[in-house]
Each structure stands twice: as structure tokens, then as C-alpha cells.
């Protein structure tokens, strides 16, 4: 059973096997073109594979949107060290819930994507770092991996191609920060999930100090289609430099929340109204967070835009991880900012001063403010504290906490002012004596 009804507007490439009977099994996968892309890739040169991915203009689905083909090409070819393929399945960005579906409905697609990446960079070992709370998915992936070994799609000399590949799952350590690529690698090595100093980047020195390709689940899942149908076909689905489709996670105050695979560049308002069935209860749209909680908020009037990396960046936000959070007119923006900061204060790894101290400061300040104890100076202070974090933290988590905060204050200044002078939140009753 699927979590949500598909939409007729969807373009199903990665999700096309979702909903098939027994879609997790290797039999279903094989019956629907499974592992054909691998066979094709095994006959190609590494350069050709990477080139095909470049042509597809596939960009990383983990958040930063880095061109995947280019990332793969950074792996040093003649390094004598072993090379690794690592899957970032730590999916923890609030508003994002697509990787779990890709693993739950079609685990072999991910394995095949990893294998092709292995062919491209001459890696023979892959790790899937799965968010610990996704316990059932770890079991499910383990079963799929076991099946692949049984049927000769993993292990030595896969399908007579002479290519060896092993895949292991690794349980995540219960921290959002462990989704940050270098912290993930530390955690994978059994250490505290603290980011690493870069350079060197993982492509040169990643897992166990060896060259490593690290991508999001969805990024790998796009690879079989790219190889099978050609990079150009994939690119053509999206907009220039933003190839293919992407699984948007539509949540919040819409009538039909869910995960929908739509072409890159799909219009955000259409997504809300036509795919998501409009704002719940006929309410007016107030704001949208277009790519997970780390992205600056968009006001309703800014939402008529194409959802690809570059267009959203022009609107001074980010496409991020594809988590589209819709907020209606009854939503308190101070509370939204507070809720987001609670998350970051909880998830800051604590390594660097500005993020460790800044997130908790903002959380406490917003908490107090929302409860009606705000003072005039607090509103600019919220923005200044966030700006003092911005661009100065060790890893992007600090920015991810600062950016939305700055946007909330700038774009909804009046809502902050409405909380001043001891006035309680206009949107809801607040227990003023239960400050966290």
C-alpha cells in the first residue's frame, strides 16, 4: 500500500515501480528492467558512465544540488587505495521523507545505482548509512542485499562481468548532523558524528581516508534510469542544468500531502494547488518552505516559481532536499521560527561556538518572545544573532539554522511586532509559564 495516492501530474521515473505487487523483491525488480542498467554500464568505460551522468545534469538530491557527474570525476583514478561508495540515507531534514520510500518500495534500484557508481570510480564496497530511527528500513535493505547476493547481483564476478561489489548497511547514530557528509563518515568509522575539516573532500579522502563517493539515496536511485535511457533523456525531463525529476515531499496545510515525483522546474503554486489539492479548508496560503527546514521561507506572493535549484536560489531560498512545507494564513510565523530553532538547538553537534551557543540562544529567545515576554530590542536581536552565526560556523548546520530565522524576521516583521508589549500570540493560546 502506498502512503499517498499518486497524482496524474507525476512523471514517474524513480518511483515507477512504487505500488507494484511485492515491489521490494528482486523478482519484481528483474521483471521490470531491474539490473539492466548495470549490465549496460559494465560494458561501458568509467569515463563513459561519468559522462552520461554529466549529460543527465543530475544534481545531488541531498540538499546542496552539486552536479553528481562532476563529483564522481573528482575521485582520483590512479589512487592505490580502495575506494568506497557511501549512501547518505540519514534523511533527517524536517519536511523530507522521500528516501524512505525509495528504499521501502524499490531497494534494488538503490543497490543498482551504487553498483554503477562503483563501476564508474572503480569501487568495490558500498555502505548505506541509514538513519537509526528507520530500523525497519535497515532490515528491509539487509533483506534486499541478501537477495542480491543470492541471485549473483552482489559479490564476486557479478553476472559474469568480472566486477566485484559488496554492500553493507550501517545504522545511523541518531543525529541530524550525521547526515552532513563528513560527520557521516566519522560516524561510519565508529566515531562521534562531528564534521571534518575540508579540504580534503570525501572524493579524495573520505571513508577510512580513502577516496569516497558520497551521495543521497535519491541521487543513486536516479542513476539506473540515466544509464538505461541515456543522460540526455533524463536531462530533457527537467530544466537546463537541472535534469530529471525529483521526489517532492509536500507537507503541511495542503489537502493531499504526500511524496510526488515531478519534473524539475515544476511550478510551486501548481504543486500546491493541483498536485496537493490546494490549501486545506480553503484557507489562504501564507508561506512555503521550499526545500526542508534549512531553507529560507517564501511568502505566498513569492511562490509562483519553477522548482529547480537555480530558480529557487534566485528567489533567495533553496531547493534543498525537496521538502515543501506549506503554511496557511492561520500559522504563527514566530512559532514556526521557534519550532525550527528547537530542532537546530537540539541537533547542533556542539562542536563550534557560534552554532552551539547561537542555536540555543535563539531557541530560548524565540520561546520567550512567542510567549509574550518579548521586548522591542528582541526582534533585531534575533536577526543579529542569526547573522553572527551565518557563514562563520564549522559546518553548514549553523547556516541552516540561521538562514530561515533571518528570513522569518525579515519577511514577517509585523508578526513579530504583534507579539510585543506583553501581547499573547494572536494565533493560539500559549502557556506563558511553561517556557522550555
Amino acid at each position: 500500500m502506498l502512503y499517498n495516492e499518486p497524482s496524474p501530474l507525476e512523471v514517474k521515473v524513480l518511483s515507477r515501480r512504487f505500488g507494484l505487487p511485492d515491489s521490494q523483491s528482486i523478482n519484481t525488480y528483474l521483471a521490470h528492467e531491474g539490473y539492466q542498467a548495470f549490465r549496460k554500464a559494465a560494458a561501458m568505460t568509467p569515463d563513459d558512465i561519468i559522462n552520461e551522468v554529466k549529460i543527465s545534469s543530475l544534481r545531488g538530491r541531498g540538499g546542496a544540488g552539486f552536479p553528481t557527474g562532476m563529483k564522481w570525476s573528482f575521485v582520483p583514478r590512479n589512487s592505490p587505495k580502495p575506494k568506497y561508495i557511501v549512501v547518505n540515507a540519514d534523511e533527517s531534514e524536517p519536511g523530507t521523507c522521500k528516501d524512505r520510500l525509495l528504499m521501502e518500495y524499490d531497494p534494488h534500484q538503490l543497490i543498482e545505482g551504487m553498483m554503477i557508481a562503483g563501476l564508474a570510480v572503480d569501487a568495490h564496497t558500498g555502505y548505506i548509512y541509514i538513519r537509526g530511527e528507520y530500523r525497519y528500513l535497515i532490515n528491509l535493505m539487509d533483506r534486499a542485499i541478501a537477495e542480491a547476493y543470492e541471485r549473483g547481483y552482489l559479490g564476486k564476478n557479478i553476472q559474469g562481468t568480472g566486477f566485484d561489489f559488496d554492500v553493507y548497511t550501517h545504522t545511523g547514530a541518531g543525529a541530524y548532523e550525521c547526515g552532513e557528509e563528513s560527520a557521516l563518515l566519522e560516524s561510519l568509522e565508529g566515531k562521534r558524528g562531528i564534521p571534518r575539516i575540508r579540504p580534503p573532500f570525501p572524493a579524495v579522502s573520505g571513508a577510512f581516508q580513502c577516496p569516497t563517493v558520497l551521495n543521497n539515496v535519491e541521487t543513486y536511485c536516479a542513476v539506473p534510469a540515466i544509464i538505461r535511457d541515456g543522460g540526455a533523456a533524463f536531462a530533457a525531463l527537467g530544466t537546463p542544468k537541472n535534469g530529471g525529476t525529483r521526489l517532492f515531499c509536500l507537507s503541511g496545510h495542503v489537502n493531499r500531502p504526500g511524496v510526488y515525483e515531478l519534473p524539475m522546474g515544476f511550478n510551486l503554486l501548481r504543486m500546491i494547488n493541483e498536485v496537493g489539492g490546494g490549501v486545506r479548508g480553503g484557507k489562504k496560503l501564507k508561506a512555503v518552505i521550499p526545500g526542508g527546514s534549512s531553507c529560507p521561507v517564501l511568502k505566498a506572493e513569492e511562490c509562483d516559481l519553477a522548482m529547480d535549484f537555480d530558480t529557487v536560489a534566485q528567489a533567495k531560498s533553496m531547493l534543498g532536499s525537496g521538502g515543501v512545507v506549506v503554511m496557511d494564513e492561520d500559522t504563527c510565523m514566530v512559532k514556526a521560527a521557534l519550532r525550527i530553532m528547537k530542532f537546530y538547538a537540539h541537533e547542533s553537534c556542539g562542536w563550534c561556538i557560534p552554532c552551539r551557543e547561537g542555536t540555543i540562544w535563539l531557541r530560548k529567545l524565540l520561546d520567550r518572545f512567542h510567549a509574550g515576554f518579548g521586548q522591542q530590542g528582541d526582534i533585531p536581536l534575533i536577526g543579529e544573532v542569526a547573522k553572527n552565526m551565518l557563514g562563520r560556523t564549522f559546518c553548514p548546520l549553523g547556516d541552516a539554522a540561521a538562514m530561515p530565522t533571518i528570513s522569518f524576521v525579515e519577511k514577517f516583521y509585523d508578526e513579530f511586532e504583534a507579539h510585543l508589549d506583553g501581547k499573547p500570540c494572536p494565533y493560539e493560546e500559549v502557556n506563558r509559564f511553561a517556557l522550555a
Binding site: A175, I197, C349, G350, W351, I353
Partner: protein, 702 residues
């Protein structure tokens, strides 16, 4: 790659080797970039964000502690933007800081205070509740106050990387992240206090020092540690005539920032309540306090009388008294009393090494060599326990230069963790085991061999032959126990050797022989405790003892002189590598005199002219007459170390190497002296074990 890169820092043209960090390049031209987490020699953290600088063509501020220099790079370290960023970091870190400077030990020498003062972040805008955690005691030595901690991770790294102990770590995350000890609520470690001294704030404080003074109320004296032979410089902080702190935060001396628990905290013997403060004389069978003139008079009278009737003297010198005192004592014995019956507790066979290497140059390693040599071989010593500074140097050499270490020991040692080859042998089989390393050692470009008391007598010559057969440059360190063990040998506290390894005509009695000689008339012990485990056979001998405490030997004495400690005198001492360094008096204890002064007064009373007895005049004589000791005075005077070079001649060897034995002190013991350090006795790790480190099973981890 070019061997130097040109860049501009604050308008100054700077040249630096490729790979240099901007923070270091700036320092070279006198620009100090603030840093909490960066510490030269330790791994990079980029955690405090204090070192942010502007770099042309870079969109964001960059951390100077991780940024390497590049050709044409233009760096600005004090722009308004940079100042504002640093101020904001301070504001952040102060939000959850208790601001209890008035009661904080660090107040006055705190890096956080200094930075706040410099960037004017004194006024905060933080109006919320602070995170509070109660203070914890982790050991008698280490206390931790989490709210003051700024999480720079210096302590974690110095313990793991510097000490090889790895007792500190980080627990929890976010704002409640906390430094934690290795044994749940307490520490099990070296108790060296390196973490405390490296802490930029008052989060880590020491049980010895906390709440006892404000830093500016102390006076500081740089002198040499009174304990082991490594000869660390320790800066003693004193107040009201008491030593209350030892550290080496200015990184001067051969040890840089390093000190072990003994150099840093075991100065407390100095003010132990049992310190002798008056001469004692046996009157009616009991030791009674008497005046100095009476005690000196009595000893002079008896010594003169014994000398005149041709009686037998036995003189025992110390491993801890200064070179000047040792020199003067042997001169007193040989010229004043006419005897070669002089010895000390021998802890390593230095004469055999000096003889085996006679005539060569550049073959005696210094403490610095242990840090720079491409390869080292440790034979028969648990270095981390017995020679903490040498072990620290060796570890740093491996971390910074990937040097190769080989160990030949009878049990696991800390050096195993990084040694390329560790050999376990039965005691006595060390020399034979070297053969198994021959091929590996031959392939090294150079080698420093550090050997303990397992190699003595003939074995030393064979070791040198082995070294010669490798065909590579080899340097040696003969490991000895205490702060001036080496100086005692060099100054001729031996029955068969005078100062500078000059053979004497009629060798006298060794220490065991003196103890066994029933007809000994006088037994004179200057700063040693030979009767701790032995009996003096001569019941009727007149026994004179100089000591700080009423030791087993002093209890048997007829006259006891209360002696000044190493921290109460000027002079020089010679460390395990033959490096001569300056002792400086930091405090005075009422009623005591230095051994040199006691010797001088006695000689005067006995009308023996041995020359002036000031440390300066005796050192002058040593420099003129003792082989190898013509060391550069300005170097020593400036607090440096000058290596003595005694290798210009063969040495008459004693044929009884069995007299040489290390006392086997650990990190937490220090002979008789150590028994009077409350600190050493108080730590859980006391008394410590040699060869007790858990090691990985496989011998060869290459």
C-alpha cells in the same frame, strides 16, 4: 612544488613554506591571530572560530588555523568585519559562561578574559537562563567546572595526542556538550596536569593550586624539576615563601610545555610538616635540636680526630644535589679527608658508555634529538613511566615526523602503541634480542638508542659494537634515575673515578663495601638514604647525615644537618642526556642550609682550604677542571641547556656492574623524596606499575 610561497598578511610581505597554516605564517611576522582551539603541534579542530580572517577573493571569512598559505594570497587579520566576527564569537561563548572571574583561579591570566578585553565584548545581550552544571572533582589533581569550559578540546588532544593517555573525551552534544573523564566519574591517567595548564580558561583547575592565590600575587622562578633525570624546566609560583604552583606555560626549557605530575605538583615535599629545620645531635642516645655552630663544631672535631688517627671514612653523595655540591663533596673527601671511599647510588652505567664512545663526537643524544631522530630504540625501560619527558618527545616525534620506534622490554610499554616493532624479552636477554631487529635497524637513516640498567658493564661495549655494525649514525642515552644522577657520576662521586671520569690512584670502597665494613669510623651521607633497606655493619661509626627529612639513615645519625632542597638553592644539574641546566632558588625554609654551605662551613671549621663555596665559584672551577664541562655559561644563565662533552679519553672501569641498579621509580614515586609528597601519595594511581600498560597482542604492527 616551490619551496616557498609569497603572500601578504596585513600589508606585510610574508614568505612561508607550502603547507604552512596562515595562523603560523602570521605569527612569524609578529601578527598574533587569536585562537582558542588551535594549538601548535596538536590536531586541528576549527571549532572556536576565533581565528577568522578576511582573505581576498574568498566569499566568507576563513579560519586561519586551517587555511594553508597560497601564492599571492592576501590576508587581513584585523578589519572591522573580522573584529566584529570575533566579538560575536566572544559574545556567544560568554552566553553560557558563569562570569565568575572574581573567584576563578584563572582570573588574571585567562585567555577568554584577554580576548574579551581586546574585542570589547564585555557587555552581553543574552537575557535567558544559562546552562548550569555542578563542578566535579575527577582526581586529587584535576577538578572540572563545565560552565567555564569553552570546548576548545585542547585538553582532550593534549591527553590523547601529547600524553598517549586518551583519558578525556566529549559527551552529549549541542550546548550541553561536556568534557568527560575516562572512568565514569573520575580519571585514571598520568595525573600530569597537562590538561589543566593547556586550558585557556578556568574550567580545569588543580587540587594543589585552586583558591590559593591570584596569579599576580605570585612570584615566578624558573628552575629544574627535583625528581627524575630528564631535567624538565619548571616555573615555580611562590607566595609568602611557599611554592604553590609548578608549570611551564611559557614553554621555555628543553621540555617545552611538558611536565609530569612530579614536576608540576610534587613540589609539595618542600613544605612537608616533617621538614627538618634545625640541626640534630645525638645527646644521651636521642637526637636533640642543637645550634648550627654546635653541630658544625662537633662534626669538624670528630672528622679531624678520625682523620688524624688515620681512621676510615665512608662518604655517600646524592643523586639530587647540585653539581657544585657533588664536586665540592668529592673534593672534600679526597683532599680534605684523604679518602677515595666515596660513592652514590648508581642507577645506570654511564662510565661504560663514556669509555665505549671515547674519542667520538656527536654520539651523545640530547632531549631534542629524541624529538627529531628518524628512529629510536628503547632497551629495557618503561619510558612513559620512568622517563616521562623522553617518552613525550618520542611520541611527538612519531606524531609530527612519523619516526620509527623500536622497543626491547620485558613487558608492555606505552611506546608499543606506535612502535614499528616491539620485542618482549626475559630480563637480561635484551642484548641478544637486538639481533632480531638488525635488518630493520640497518635500513633506518639514523638511530637513537636509549638503554636502561639492563645494559651495563661489558654489555654496554657490546651494544656500541652493535650500533657500529649497523653502518648508520647512532647516538646513545644511558638512562639514569634522578635529577642529578648524571651529575653525580660526572662529578666523581665514585670510588674509582674523580670528576670528569679521571681514574684515581687508589680506588676506594663502594657503597656496599662501606656498609659492610665493620671498622668504618665515620659514615657521612649527603642527601641519600642508603639505610632504607640496608644495615650499617659498623655499629660504632660516627654517622653524619644531610637531609630534608628524618629518613631511616638520618635516624641512625649522630649529627643531622637540615638541608635545603633543590628548590631552595642555586647551582647546576645535569640531566640524563648530559645537558647542564641552572637551578634557581625559589623559596627559603627557615633553619636549613644548602649542602654546599654546610660543606663550606665544615671545611672552614676543619681548616681545610677547598676554595670558595659559592655556587658561582665552584662552577667556575668545574668549568676549568672537569672534562667536558666547559659549557657555555650564557646558555645556562639564560635558562637553556648546554650539553657536557666528556668523550675525550678512555675511562677506567669498575668491574662490578652489579652495583648499578635503577630504583625502578614509576610516574608516581620518586625515591625517598617522593614519600614526602602528599600529591603523589594521594592519587589513586599511586604507586604505579612498570610494564603495566595494556598493549595490543601482536608484536609487529608495521
Amino acid at each position: 612544488m616551490a619551496d616557498s610561497v609569497n603572500l601578504t598578511i596585513d600589508g606585510k610581505a610574508v614568505q612561508a613554506a607550502p603547507g604552512t597554516l596562515v595562523i603560523d605564517a602570521a605569527k612569524k611576522v609578529g601578527i598574533e591571530i587569536p585562537a582558542f582551539c588551535y594549538w601548535e603541534g596538536l590536531t586541528l579542530q576549527a571549532a572556536c572560530r576565533m581565528c577568522l580572517v578576511e582573505v581576498e577573493r574568498m566569499p566568507k571569512l576563513m579560519t586561519a588555523c586551517t587555511l594553508t598559505v597560497a601564492e599571492g594570497m592576501v590576508v587581513r587579520t584585523e578589519t572591522p568585519l573580522v573584529a566584529e566576527a570575533r566579538k560575536s564569537m566572544l559574545e556567544f561563548v560568554l552566553t553560557n559562561h558563569p562570569l565568575d572571574c572574581p573567584v576563578c583561579d584563572k582570573g588574571g591570566e585567562c585567555e577568554l578574559q584577554d580576548m574579551t578585553f581586546r574585542y570589547g565584548a564585555g557587555e552581553g545581550r543574552f537575557d535567558e537562563m544559562k546552562v548550569h552544571v555542578d563542578e566535579k572533582q575527577w582526581s586529587p589533581v584535576v577538578y572540572f567546572d563545565a560552565p567555564r569550559c569553552i570546548l576548545c578540546y585542547r585538553c582532550v588532544r593534549i591527553c590523547d595526542e601529547g600524553m598517549g593517555v586518551d583519558a578525556l573525551g566529549v559527551i552529549y552534544r549541542g550546548v550541553v556538550s561536556e568534557i568527560a573523564p575516562n572512568k565514569e566519574d573520575h580519571l585514571q591517567c598520568d595525573e600530569c596536569g597537562m590538561c589543566i595548564d593547556i586550558c585557556p580558561v578556568g574550567a580545569l583547575t588543580s587540587g594543589m593550586y585552586r583558591y590559593r592565590t591570584r596569579p599576580w600575587e605570585m612570584e615566578h622562578t624558573g628552575t629544574i624539576c627535583a625528581h627524575c633525570s630528564n631535567g624538565c624546566k619548571t616555573t615555580l609560583g611562590t607566595r609568602n615563601g611557599q611554592i604553590i604552583r609548578g608549570n611551564n606555560r611559557d614553554k621555555s626549557g628543553i621540555n617545552g610545555e611538558f611536565l609530569c605530575i612530579k614536576g608540576r605538583y610534587a613540589f609539595d615535599f618542600n613544605s612537608h610538616p616533617e621538614r627538618l629545620q634545625s640541626p640534630l645531635m645525638r645527646i644521651g642516645g636521642k637526637l636533640e635540636p642543637v645550634s648550627w655552630s654546635r653541630a658544625i663544631g662537633e662534626v669538624a672535631r670528630r672528622f679531624t680526630e678520625i682523620r688524624e688517627r688515620g681512621g676510615r671514612f665512608g662518604v655517600v653523595g646524592s643523586n639530587r644535589t647540585s653539581n657544585e655540591e657533588n664536586y665540592y663533596l668529592q673534593k672534600f673527601a679526597r683532599q680534605g679527608l684523604g679518602t677515595n671511599n666515596i660513592d652514590h647510588r648508581r642507577t645506570g652505567d654511564v662510565p661504560a658508555l663514556i669509555d665505549a664512545l671515547a674519542g667520538r663526537t656527536g654520539v651523545l643524544a640530547t632531549v631534542k634529538d629524541v624529538y627529531t631522530a628518524k628512529a629510536s630504540l628503547v632497551i629495557g625501560s618503561d619510558l612513559a613511566q620512568q622517563h616521562p619527558l623522553l617518552a613525550y618527545q618520542l611520541r611527538a616525534n612519531w606524531r609530527h615526523h612519523q619516526s620509527h620506534t623500536y622497543t626491547v622490554t620485558r613487558g608492555p610499554v606505552r611506546e608499543d602503541k606506535y612502535s614499528v616493532h616491539g620485542v618482549r624479552v626475559e630480563p637480561g636477554a635484551e642484548l641478544g634480542a637486538l639481533e632480531s631487529l638488525r635488518d630493520q635497524l640497518k635500513a633506518e637513516p639514523e638511530l637513537v638508542i636509549l638503554f636502561g640498567d639492563a645494559i651495563k658493564g661489558e654489555a654496554v661495549r657490546r651494544l656500541v659494537e652493535f650500533g657500529d655494525s649497523l653502518g648508520i649514525p647512532v647516538k646513545y642515552i644511558c638512562l639514569v634515575d634522578y635529577s642529578n644522577s648524571r651529575g653525580a657520576v660526572d662529578m666523581g662521586l665514585l670510588p674509582h673515578l674523580g670528576p670528569g671520569y679521571q681514574g684515581v690512584e687508589n680506588p676506594g670502597m663502594s657503597l656496599p663495601e662501606m656498609l659492610a665494613a665493620e671498622d668504618l669510623d665515620a659514615f657521612w651521607v649527603v642527601g641519600a638514604n642508603p639505610l632504607e633497606h640496608n644495615k650499617l655493619a659498623a655499629d660504632r661509626a660516627f654517622v653524619v647525615v644531610h637531609d630534608l627529612f628524618l629518613t631511616e639513615t638520618a635516624e641512625r645519625a649522630d649529627v643531622v644537618f637540615p638541608a635545603a632542597s633543590a628548590y631552595e638553592k642555586n647551582g647546576t644539574v645535569t640531566n640524563v642526556c648530559g645537558e647542564v641546566q641552572h637551578l634557581r632558588s625559589a623559596v627559603q625554609t627557615m633553619g636549613v642550609k644548602t649542602d654546599l654551605e654546610i660543606l663550606g662551613l665544615l671545611s672552614k671549621e676543619m681548616r681545610i682550604n677547598l676554595g670558595m663555596w659559592t655556587p658561582e665559584s665552584v662552577l667556575r672551577e668545574i668549568r676549568q677542571t672537569v672534562r667536558g664541562y666547559n659549557v657555555a655559561l650564557p646558555v645556562i644563565a639564560a635558562g637553556g641547556a648546554a650539553q657536557s662533552l666528556p668523550l675525550n679519553g678512555r675511562v677506567t672501569l669498575d668491574s662490578r656492574p652489579e652495583l648499578i641498579q635503577s630504583a625502578g621509580d614509576t610516574l608516581f614515586t620518586s625515591g625517598t623524596l617522593g614519600r614526602y609528597s602528599k600529591t603523589l601519595l594521594s592519587v589513586l594511581e599511586y604507586p604505579g606499575v612498570l610494564y603495566g600498560e595494556a598493549a595490543e597482542p601482536e608484536a609487529d604492527r608495521r
